[in-house]
Amino acid sequence: IAGITQAPTSQILAAGRRMTLRCTQDMRHNAMYWYRQDLGLGLRLIHYSNTAGTTGKGEVPDGYSVSRANTDDFPLTLASAVPSQTSVYFCASSVGTAPGSPLHFGNGTRLTVT
């Protein structure tokens, strides 16, 4: 079934550790995104990539990095996790060429930093 796969589903991580959240899509979408969802704050954009080889910063990029080596994969890395990064992380993609293309979301990764 075409869509977005995120891994892991959930993770408990000690503060200071490095962590990479994986995201893979098989829809050949140009654009990909990482959002974090926090209670009472909704979803906020961390980083995005309009096409393979390019990335950009969203609303809350500090403490996170991304890469886009190919069309399908868009990993999100926390170099040194802190408790405030406890959140649910969603990867999303869109066709990116048609105006107003809706985003398709993965099922999220619940990350707890202790």
Binding site: L43, G100, S101, L103, F105, N107
Partner: protein, 115 residues
Amino acid sequence: AQTVTQSQPEMSVQEAETVTLSCTYDTSENNYYLFWYKQPPSRQMILVIRQEAYKQQNATENRFSVNFQKAAKSFSLKISDSQLGDTAMYFCAFMKAGSQGNLIFGKGTKLSVKP
């Protein structure tokens, strides 16, 4: 900067009845898109409906329809014949034309459909 406001943190409705979720937004843009997403307890984000700002006609998808008032910057979602499976968080979102999918979300409304 654009902002999206959902003023109803929680709502409830009886099964088979109609409910309207409110959303307002603030922007100086003239060309943009608006969305409603649903997030059931499974956590998956599901697109419910999409509206282009340049279209005056309100979007409709089966039991879901919107009341888009561009001058008032209002984008409410009406759910008719509510079903138990409609129980979810509902997020209103804004996308500026040309931003290639950079969505600005509201904080959500938790809808409970009661039998």
